[in-house]
Amino acid sequence: MLISCPWCGPRELEEFRFRSVVAGGNDATAWNAPRAFAEVYERTNVPDASIEYWQHDRGCRAWLVVQRDPSTAAVLAVRLLATEVET
């Protein structure tokens, strides 16, 4: 299974580390206690769509936002967390 790193190109999954599921949006102004709880603890488990933080930690160490389908393990889209560059 390959993940296409925006810097390094297609690399084996083993080079990457799954960090966490992206639970909410990224609007920092909307933070409050219930929102923080939801972000940390609550997951909407949709079997065919998951947006996740990954890191290419045995490669260029870039943090990535990866969109995957957990029911087939297909990687649908990868972008850099820092610059939001589409690949």
Binding site: F37, N45, R68, S71
Partner: protein, 424 residues
């Protein structure tokens, strides 16, 4: 309503041998889906069947159905590595799992079905003096709760597990271990079949290939389930769907503190008796737990694959990790071939402990979040959860596992890993 089957006994076995086995009947009746039940249990795995069995046996509930989208025992109850133990540090966990272990000891008699409980001991191996200190603490916590635990130094370990050569140079040398002698293995398929047979004998209807697709409700009460075999009304609904617990939350519109991750297991070709216990060997980036089945194969598992997945297809690098750890532990098995290899979906919670609570509706009960530790909990979970469903109040044994603990901060985080399901 099917009549109770004649029990298994030495006399029944002898008479069947003389008559060519013609008296044996299927263990449970294949029932058609009725229009309505008192309790519908979703999921014919260990927890679902045990809950149904105890509802019928202990609480006299009459009309019970157990639905499964596949077959009895097709899910995690038949995919685990069959280990049972109660060697937990935290009081909530060790009292609960000790209740389960005591029930495992008598389960074959209770179900009149041989589940092959084998108290061969479970040894957590330590690779540093610091870890020995942590094991001493865990062992002492267990002993204070009346649970057996023995700290083994190298001499004690050599005596108990002579198969492990402590002099072999290892990157992570073994310095001792924590032994629970009453821990061991139970044949997992027999658990599913034994509970199914015992529940069916009490009138529980088991309906296979019946997938639940939706829940109908009226106000705070769920009224029934949409299934692939039509609509069924239910006074109370129990979800015990293991790896798909998160999806049940999504189906009911309740986000749960659960992610679904894969765990692999594998078995080698059979060999003559080599290993008389269950060994657990963990270090920073690898892990193996290993035991020998009655057929002779070495059954192994390790860490989660590490990313959310429903595929049941294990990743190659994790298979390598497990095998490397196994060969580091027991170099003499290096020449063996793997016979089979599989994966199961694990409903990993944010603190590594299960969730047993109501879910959204007053009459909907969730038994899930078992992570990779559900098998050993089955007898305690079934008995306590049936009491919860029958009486409406959770027994003390399972009250700590309520869903609201995440919001109130009463987490039961055995590993101290924090809210990262992949690391639990």
């Amino acid at each position: 309503m099917s009549r109770p089957k004649p029990g298994y006994s030495a006399i029944a076995l002898a008479s069947a041998a003389l008559t060519g086995g013609r008296q044996w009947r299927p263990l449970w009746r294949r029932a058609p889906l009725q229009e309505a039940y008192d309790v519908v249990v979703v999921g014919a795995g260990g927890h679902g069947l045990a809950t149904a069995y105890h509802l019928a046996r202990d609480h006299g509930v009459k009309r019970i159905a157990v639905l499964d989208r596949h077959l009895v025992g097709y899910g995690n109850v038949g995919r685990n590595t069959t280990v049972v133990r109660s060697n937990y540090l935290l009081p909530e966990n060790h009292y609960f799992y000790e209740d389960a272990l005591r029930r495992w000891q008598t389960l074959s008699r209770d179900l009149n079905y041989n589940v092959m409980y084998s108290p061969r001991g479970v040894v957590d191996l330590a690779i540093s003096d610091d870890e020995m200190t942590a094991y001493a603490r865990r062992g002492n916590a267990m002993r204070l709760a009346g649970i057996d635990a023995e700290l083994l130094d190298r001499v004690g370990l050599r005596r108990f597990v002579p198969e492990v050569d402590l002099e072999v140079p290892r990157r992570f040398p073994i310095v001792g271990g924590l032994l629970q002698r009453r821990g061991g293995t139970v044949r997992h398929d027999a658990v599913a079949w034994g509970y199914a047979r015992a529940a069916a004998a009490l009138g529980v209807e088991i309906i296979e290939r019946c997938e639940v697709t939706g829940v109908r409700s009226s106000g705070n009460v769920a009224t029934g389930l949409e299934t692939s075999q039509g609509y069924v009304r239910a006074d109370r609904i129990v979800f015990a769907v293991a790896g798909h617990t998160g999806a049940i939350g999504t189906l009911l519109g309740v986000p749960l503190p659960i992610e679904t991750h894969l765990l692999q297991a594998m078995v080698t070709e059979p060999i003559k008796p080599l290993l008389n216990t269950v060994l657990i060997y963990m270090y920073e980036h690898g892990e193996v737990y290993i035991s020998q089945s009655d057929r002779g194969g070495l059954v192994m598992g390790g860490m989660l694959d590490g990313l959310p997945s429903y595929t049941r297809e294990g990743l190659w690098f994790r298979l390598e990790d497990v095998v490397q750890a196994a060969v580091a532990l027991l170099p003499q098995i290096g020449g063996l071939k793997l016979l089979r290899h599989w994966a199961g979906t694990n409903d990993m919670t944010m603190d590594g402990s299960p969730i047993m609570d109501r879910l959204r509706f007053d009459n909907v009960f969730l038994n899930g979040g078992w992570c990779y530790g559900g098998f050993k909990a089955i007898p305690a979970s079934g008995a306590a959860f049936a009491t919860f469903v029958a009486n409406g109040t959770a027994p003390d044994l399972i009250r700590p596992y309520r869903l609201s603990r995440f919001a109130t901060g009463h987490l039961i985080d055995e590993k101290g890993a924090g809210p990262f399901p992949a690391r639990q």
